[in-house]
Amino acid sequence: MSKNKQQLAKALAATGYVADEGLATALILTDMLSRPLLLEGEAGVGKTEVAKALAKLEETNLIRLQCYEGLDRSDAIYEWNYQRQLLAIKAREGSGENADKVEEAVFSEKYLLERPLLAAIRQENPPVLLIDEVDRADEEFEAFLLEILSDYQVSIPELGTVEATSIPRVVLTSNGTRELSDALRRRCLYHYVDYPSPDREARILLARVEGLDAALALQIAELMGKLRKEDLAKVPGVAETIDWAAALLGLGAKNLHESRELVFDSLVCVLKTREDQSRVSREVADRLLGKVA
């Protein structure tokens, strides 16, 4: 089916993700050009959520690979099931089979453990493959990731080349803890996810927090926008806003101006370091709140 930008944005919103300008276009392009999408942005702006929403929208599997330093082929692509292999070898010991036969049997499909990247290209329906925080993995990983993303095939020395049965929709996210290689960047479509505007953030809150009133959502979103402009060590993301809204709602706040005490007390949902907590004193919180309509 063919979708334009607005339709896709609307469909995403139905799954609970309020897309920003341009993201819908980027998602359409991933399909059109079969390229992976690289999402960059600060922590907590909802990069991972994009993939989740996309999987929900397409009603397909989400296969997630969380990257970390030292991630290697055996964790990301495939691994042999050694225990079973050893057992099989032992079991055949007396049977007098020659070594070649044993080898063939032991390195067969049966003893192969799929890891996310291999699993993603062997699905019936094209899944959404989320490669989360790819900047945490090292360059070596990036190199074999590139190989998979360009050919959608995996070569296993003992077994041969495994071709993709379906080409997954790939979403990569990066926080920028390490500079990614130009080759990977060039291969991918790029979208920078910024902190949402107050209006969009309010809509996100309404989609995510049940029973929240639109006026309060807008107030929270505006206050959050002001708070992010303060010189904070750890700028709060959208996830924090959602937590905070849920907390305020749970504590029974109706209007932020009327419940200043609550606002200040519940800032623990948003400020996550000691410096930030001491920086946003009661006076600062009041000043920020004063600017909110």
Binding site: N4, G22, T25, L29, M32, E93, R178, R185, Y190, Y192
Partner: protein, 399 residues
């Protein structure tokens, strides 16, 4: 959204193809990494319904052509300038070879040290016959016994005045950087005899013995080289040393697998991409273009604040050593410098401060800035000559 139908509008005409090629070319000139595959995909996009409105096409092209935040931020401007012919105010050319008059570049600073002619250290063909004569001319050169390398090792950088000798100093710096790497990677190999079994390899090898694992293959935690982040002071007071340090930094970037370089005077400039150029002369040229205002005042505190705010999260990880090359003369407030050093301290593993002034007789770090910074520094060492740089090697290898 499976298989979006590419509704082919009219095929793209030759004139439009040329325009697209021109656009891609202008993007490349602006430092975008755009390959042939991207151009082909762009053509696909132009054929699709997306080209109905320029706004749609702009968004699509932005996703396609951008690779990083800096691309993302200036793409709109470039797109408008090219397709909608709106004037482009700021110069965006990065890799230009032209150079504004009156701008003091690193290259000039290097040249300024060589009083004879404008030959650039890296480009000079060394002539064996001249070698001895040159090094003997250097003020504290010893004529008897000692080798040339040692001779140069003793000379304060300020006193090296001919291009040939500068080249030698540079070579030594480069060799030094290289030997640091060798030391570290060798350590890496020895640690491979790890405590755990590598089952994959063991089983692979056991097959030829009928499944009995005779050869046990082991693995252990991999050792990685430390990342070196260099902050080079390029202010006026450092003029005498900047050239040599720059070459030293160039050597480091060339030889360390993970290294980043920043240069600061009144502001901070990220120069890694410029210095990753292999040819030293060109690297210095490119860096000169990036770092305008070299040789002015110093605001170490502000430069560090900028570093902590915009770069630290990306370039610093747990195995990072930050090396500051500066004389510590700061026009900012010591308080700010102290606070920023403390922030930096929390992020990285080691801070090394190399101060060329320690080489001077009777120097004590009494400057306010230096006083504020010292408590946060792991190693405060002289770097007035090559020997002092070489003395750092064991320390860095230990990290």
């Amino acid at each position: 959204m499976s298989a979006l139908i590419l509704e082919t509008r009219e095929d793209v005409g030759a004139a439009l193809r040329m325009r697209l090629a021109g656009f891609v070319h202008s993007l490349r000139n602006s430092g975008f990494k755009v390959g042939l595959a991207e151009t082909r995909d762009a053509l696909t996009l132009m054929r699709s319904q997306l080209s109905a409105r320029p706004g749609l096409l702009k968004g699509a092209f932005r996703s396609l052509f951008c690779g990083r935040l800096s691309d993302w931020q200036r793409f709109d401007e470039l797109f408008d300038a090219y397709w909608l012919e709106k004037g482009l105010k700021t110069g965006v050319k990065v890799s230009g070879t032209s150079q504004k008059k009156g701008m003091k570049t690193i290259r000039e600073l290097v040249d300024a040290q060589g009083s004879r002619q404008e030959t650039i250290a890296g480009d000079v063909e060394r002539q064996p016959g001249e070698e001895d004569e040159d090094s003997n001319e250097s003020p504290s050169g010893r004529r008897e016994g000692a080798s040339i390398a040692e001779n140069l090792g003793q000379v304060d950088f300020r006193n090296i005045h001919d291009p040939d000798a500068i080249e030698k100093a540079h070579d030594l710096a480069e060799r030094l950087a290289r030997s640091m790497r060798v030391r570290l990677t060798r350590r890496d190999r020895q640690k491979r005899k790890g405590p755990r079994l590598d089952l994959r390899k063991t089983i692979r090898h056991s097959i030829s013995h009928g499944g009995t694992p005779i050869e046990l293959i082991r693995k252990g935690p991999r050792q990685r080289q430390l990342r070196l982040v260099v902050l080079l002071d390029a202010s006026g007071s450092m003029n005498n040393y900047t050239g040599v340090f720059t070459r030293f930094v160039h050597g480091i970037l060339d030889n360390f697998r993970e290294a980043e370089a920043f240069l600061f005077h009144t502001r901070l400039v990220h120069v890694s991409s410029a210095l990753s150029e292999r040819d030293a002369g060109r690297a210095l040229d490119r860096m000169g273009l990036m770092a305008q205002g070299v040789g002015g005042g110093t605001k170490i505190g502000e430069a560090l604040a900028d570093f902590n705010r915009s770069h630290a999260a990306r370039v610093i990880h747990s195995r990072t050593c930050v090396m500051i090359l500066s004389d510590g003369y700061d026009t900012g407030t010591p308080d700010q410098l102290g606070a920023e050093m403390a922030t930096l301290r929390r992020r990285c593993k080691r801070i090394v401060w190399l101060n060329p002034l320690i080489g001077w007789e009777g120097y004590a770090p009494t400057a306010g800035g230096m006083q504020a910074a010292l408590p946060h520094v792991d190693l405060f060492a002289p770097a007035h000559n090559l020997d002092s740089l070489a003395a750092l090697e064991p320390y860095l290898a230990k990290l």
